[in-house]
Symmetry: C2
Subunit: 333 residues, 2 copies
């Protein structure tokens, strides 16, 4: 038997074999292996972050990653941008009847690899199987708990006029990578998803610099969405087009398709808002990490454009960068 059947989701013999031979094999750790209804662990006094994300990306495998890598890194990054050091993940699969067991194994292996790279343990899980045509391949939910780094407290309310806006690397890689794979644009061989676990890079910043006010990973809706979530009645953001790092491949495909990289999803990047005096040091620390080589300051928080995100173009004009409306690329993550 090399495909998933309804009995794999029954809670009976086939379920138990799948759990033992696949999930426990790759995710094995002392907490998961107790096979209790919950993973149980010890925590010391402190603040903790708890987050969840479901992944429905299509296709499941793409240049630079797969749904499993995305599911681990996405939740790790949500914890990391909250100022936390990620500790434990759960993972829950919804699988369509008839799905290939080999593909499922490849996804699980990828999750185990990236969980290990990020330094997190998968300690509890769930598997549901739905009938043929009732879902689309596989959907994965990961939830995660992290320990807030001592002394760190981030939030939109911490942001002040004059703070700098930093991005940790090039914009739009994930979105265009998925889109090009889906459209069969195979000439774009250098286009790859940026999916990556950012926790170690961001922890290094938070432990060494005090000026970080807010962080978020610009996934669906891209940089434009994330910045629009940050502006308030008292302040706006002005970014400079010439400062925004964009890879040659993304620039090429974005011109070809007429789509703006600032609205496209990233899966291995963070936006950091920090005090202007500490921003250069933050960029320096980011650039030491493999995932932060193209980090730079792209703009600042300003009183001039309240409740708006504006972009100063290369030719010197200023235009509004609105919150995206409608769906640009569905099932991007």
């Amino acid at each position: 038997m090399n495909t998933i059947t309804l009995s794999h989701g029954s809670g009976g013999k086939a379920s138990n074999e799948l759990i033992k031979n696949l999930f426990f094999k790759y995710f094995s750790n002392e907490i998961l292996n107790t096979a209790m209804d919950s993973g149980v662990f010890n925590l010391r006094d402190g603040f903790f972050a708890f987050t969840t994300d479901s992944f429905v990306v299509k296709p499941l495998f793409f240049n630079g990653g797969d749904i499993g890598k995305l599911a681990v890194c996405g939740t790790v990054n949500d914890l990391a941008v909250s100022g936390a050091s990620p500790k434990y993940l759960t993972c829950a699969f919804i699988i369509e009847e008839g799905f290939s067991l080999d593909e499922l194994e490849a996804i699980v292996k990828s999750m185990a690899y990236w969980a290990d790279k990020a330094g997190v343990k998968i300690i509890s899980g769930d598997t549901k199987v739905v009938g043929k045509g009732e879902s689309d391949g596989v959907f994965i939910n990961t939830s995660g708990i992290g320990e807030i780094i001592k002394g760190v407290s981030l939030g939109i309310d911490k942001i002040n006029i004059g703070d700098k806006v930093i991005v940790t690397g090039t914009m739009g890689d994930h979105g265009f990578s998925i889109l090009s794979k889906r459209k069969g644009l195979t000439f774009e061989t250098t286009l790859a998803s940026d999916s990556a676990p950012l926790n170690k890079m961001l922890e290094n910043v938070l432990k060494n610099v005090k000026g970080v006010k807010f962080m978020r990973d610009p996934t669906r809706g891209g940089l434009a969405s994330t910045l629009n979530e940050v502006v308030t009645d008292k302040s706006g953001i002005l970014i400079k087009e010439e400062k925004i790092p964009i890879s040659d491949s993304v620039r090429g495909i974005s011109e070809l398709l007429g789509m703006d990289p600032l609205y496209m999803a990233n899966e291995g990047k963070a936006v950091i808002i920090a005090s202007s005096d500490t921003a250069p040091k933050i960029v320096e620390l980011l650039r030491e990490n493999e995932y932060g080589k193209n980090a730079c300051i792209v703009g600042e928080v300003t009183a001039n454009y309240k409740n708006k995100v504006c972009i100063e173009t290369i030719i010197g004009t200023v235009r509004i960068l609105d919150m995206p409306q409608g769906e640009i690329v569905p099932r991007i993550c």
Copy 2:
């Protein structure tokens, strides 16, 4: 606009409106309302339980509950049977394009109601929208964190020969309720899902009696599956048919369909294995609670049938109650 569109999952304007007008409206609490990538909270030194469950039940609304109630109670119960007091939940929706916003609101309202009843807060969430025909209505994942009750340590390894097996109420109600609704067996008007949050009832037991060794909620695969997960090379379980509480409605439909209630899912019941001296007191405490009125001792752990679950029938014969094979009723939860 009264249905879900792809733009509700875009991370743009429509996403933010859905989050604000629906999820934040009903789930509102001081942690969720910070709208950060993770919910952040304080915990004291101790042991914690972390669990996850996806819900794909079909139909979404049924006698005795709906997918939202199930999603909250299911995760609350997974924490409770781990010996924890549930604290925080996350919830993640995968919604099919075209799904009714009214139905979504009914589900969210139900989740908010049952979270409140169980005393848990929903502090972080996620919404994905997939295209028409790419999923089936709505799937919900809930993950949860609970605080292990001081001094409590449960596990299969704690079970000894002579321990008693307790069930907290009638068996098979949820499974038959879903099945009858799906098959349109409307004559069974008294058949209802037992979906319920068991945390307060189980906490009361754990705080007042020391002898509890192991607990599990007999969901998919029913009591037969759960007990088969507990037996080892050193011990088996013998239950007595005449002791197992089964409602008249379930008995009726199980005879009609020729399906055994011991293999059918429960969503508001727990199996408790406890030392024989404390078992009567546990039953007494359970019966004080609205969800435990039919609690009773149904069997015991024995050296006679190693690695097997056996049932002594009403006429006095003993037969093996195997782990279920194949799928009995798909999409039961």
